[in-house]
Symmetry: D3
Subunit: 198 residues, 6 copies
């Protein structure tokens, strides 16, 4: 409630400011923004499969970002947690380590891995559309703030994309078997471990 009141002037005025383009604004959810705003540096929410949590502050959460071409996200990592290999089709990402340490990397179109160990206060960049990942190999929780040069970067998490796309059965087993040079039984075993994310 208080949150919505704080959001109100920002959203309404920017909409007015951008009247010519703002017919494309999305429905906003201030609570989602508030999730970003909560600065809980020891995130219990990372207690999941991958041990990480991405909280986005993009145009889906903040209609006022419409046409502004920028967004941010906060990512929390439990010890040993990863942000598995994924890509953003519409933006380059730059991260700043809020706390802890991370092993990060991306692969180029020349198939070269660019990896680095970064600690609190350091930055790293993941070029638009390239597969990248982060892992917290430390013993303490880690967190980063990410900046994107798009109001809606979009995310495609590789394993989920290939083994859990909807509607089931998603990507045909024979294609995955050929692509990864494994048996269709292995493909089915991997698919069994993933639930579709909508």
């Amino acid at each position: 409630m208080a949150v919505f009141r704080k959001m109100f002037p920002l959203i309404m005025v920017i909409m007015a400011l951008l009247a010519i383009n703002s017919d494309k604004a999305c429905a906003g959810d201030p609570d989602m923004l508030q999730d970003v705003c909560v600065a809980d540096l020891t995130s219990r929410a990372t207690n999941n499969t991958f041990g990480s949590l991405v909280t986005g502050a993009n145009v889906m959460a903040i209609p006022g970002l419409n046409t502004l071409g920028v967004s941010m996200a906060r990512i929390d990592y439990a010890p040993g947690g990863i942000n598995p290999p994924h890509l953003h089709p519409r933006a380059t990402e730059m991260i700043y380590v809020l706390q802890g340490e991370l092993d990060v990397g991306f692969i180029t179109t020349a198939n070269v891995l660019v990896a680095k160990h970064i600690v609190q206060g350091e930055v790293f960049v993941f070029p638009r559309g390239l597969v990248h990942f982060q892992k917290n190999n430390g013993h303490m929780p880690a967190a980063v703030i990410a900046g994107f040069n798009s109001q809606l970067a979009g995310t495609q998490s590789i394993a989920t994309t290939l083994f859990a796309a909807t509607p089931a059965p998603g990507v045909p087993n024979d294609i995955l078997a050929q692509a990864f040079q494994i048996g269709t039984m292995q493909v089915q075993q991997i698919k069994a471990k993933f639930a579709p994310r909508n």
Copy 2:
């Protein structure tokens, strides 16, 4: 030789035309272009791991494309051949089936598979930065012509990117094991089947 002579006027004049920007032109290889030009509809060259061959006509092959923002490619598929899941970070791709039939698809950022069976003369589109694939489930060779809205779309083949990035050992095994929910031994087995592509 004859090839170079044919290329010469095109390259030289466009370079002049684009003098303001052409300091970015790449070294051209007319032979590679000629590979595109050979209209061999029964490609023996598809006799490889995936049973497909991509021949690109982009700015690396044709310096004259510099600053023009467009390129093409021809893809040949043996019966049962696939163009495994991959993405282009810098371009949307549209294909036209020259011959045969293909099962094609891409996955959206909402993790929805958009798949279609297309035959000779039909078209399909793969949005920029999204994972997509094609498979020839027919009994005859298949081929497509692809158009890209970039002079250098770039390609990232998922399995090769994750399991064969250079320098070895590429993406850490533990990250791949966590991402695909498999054992590190399985990761090593998959890696063993891939040789790095430079």
Copy 3:
């Protein structure tokens, strides 16, 4: 009917995928797309004034192309047929010769003609906004697939633009006479041979 069913998933999902922008989608005509899809390599349809037929697969035919920035077209040429001098205000065009042979060319802003004889399997590029043409000087039908870096390249056929613009009488005769250094009677004779294309 079958066509529409095949189009359905592609269009609907891409629209969902692009929800933020898709308020600009045009009404689609799957039949027009099907015209592209029919791979009839000996086109009776080229039996017209110029002996060529352009079939477009752009956003007017495929709403799903909206915001994707790419489109294609198939052009068929009867022996002796031409695609008369024209330009595309919103896109660079790259062509791949499906069959036959063509004499193609474009003129630069330095008023230099860049021309080439291309055969089956070869490619050529026409920079955005520059006047260009193709002619089939062979004895067999010819056909190309064109890729554009715009979802709606737009076309302006010079002779039709200057001598058959609507509403009649179109471009004033005195301006055409002065521009081409001919008499107004000649201008009227040329206009008499052109019917407006809407």
Copy 4:
């Protein structure tokens, strides 16, 4: 000399300001800029074939415009003079009538002529890449200032492009004859009246 001194600070500082991009700057000719600056409203220079003179202030004349995406031009028209049908591949043009009156128009990709009679102080716009023209049907000299949304709009004058491209013989006679539905003899007569412009 005085001119160069006046240009000096503008060019040097903007180059510094744009250091990251300015490796693309062209050799500048301050005298050419000065030609623009001379506000001679009764231009003897319009005593030519078309009775008009275009003086450009673009990046070729002012290196400091590099990366700024804007340029201007002044066009003078003798009584009865025309700026014959032409197009700009890289920019939309907006004109402001300095003096006199003009009949102006452009043709859309739907082949519709958009024409208007404009007088001193009025404005008109010519969309990027579309064929357009101006004619001074008044008894006094006319002049306009044009603004372009490109540092180098480029110009393609249709008649010159089609009938006087270099190297000779330029566009093949048979193509022009077919395109305009005239005889090759008429084509040769028109070509004879045009001298190539380099």
Copy 5:
């Protein structure tokens, strides 16, 4: 009335031409355009605080400019009048002096002043987003035509922005005092001289 009739064809046809994008068109005011069209070179209207008058011909005045990325403005200056320090967030501006003489300048991000004295017929450029100004130090009225590479450049007049933003009291006094190193009383005195512009 006559004005609207003249505007009608331009607006309607361009809207049709740009049907795919024109849902973003603004309500147009032909009278405002007419203000531009009146070529009154001795503007009584410059009898105001700053002694200058800006008359814009942008997409708010001419819906047909929508998506065309260009606009113009006419600026009149009384003797001693200024167009106070301001910026355009969405466009680079290029000016052509219609009459009189002006002292113009902009400041770079390296905080270097680029200033020049320009007279009738000369041009100058103000890069996008940089603070700039013009002053007529001559004894005669002056006027310029400005070209912008945006259909709606937007303007932020520094003094008005900082000392007269709405709703009152606008920018907090303590921030202005700290920023300009002056007392809050001086801040209040300056604010008292400005009335908000909506």
Copy 6:
């Protein structure tokens, strides 16, 4: 030393990755980047005129950012410190509060102030080219991480731009006096308090 070694792979490989464009890379200064990386949350460095310190991680510091279109910065504020009214000509800025609380705002081209009180974990956005500011009215140090959608946003601090531009005397006193409606003596007093920043 250790810093440079960590930077090395990132810079070298991205340069390779971007070979076509990287002729525009700037000389990098890893130490400057390291300044960003030091996560000192109680910044003694804010002991200056404004009580704030901006540390940029842009293409001037990280050549590898060239062509990637994104950058970041860390801003530290002492209690009572401000980041005085300024603008970025080439980017929209989004901030995330690392610690403390801030009063932030920007003014629209409709001259409306959009202001908000934000605390640790909250975000706010400043549209490209619009004047904005931040002030720490709390009793504790504050800090934010800023993301920009440009590799070199550029900054123009209003007071410094208007009263301390180089070479001296910068913007003419009479123009500033007229613009702010103050006396030239007041202008000189303000200028006396500012030293040029190069």
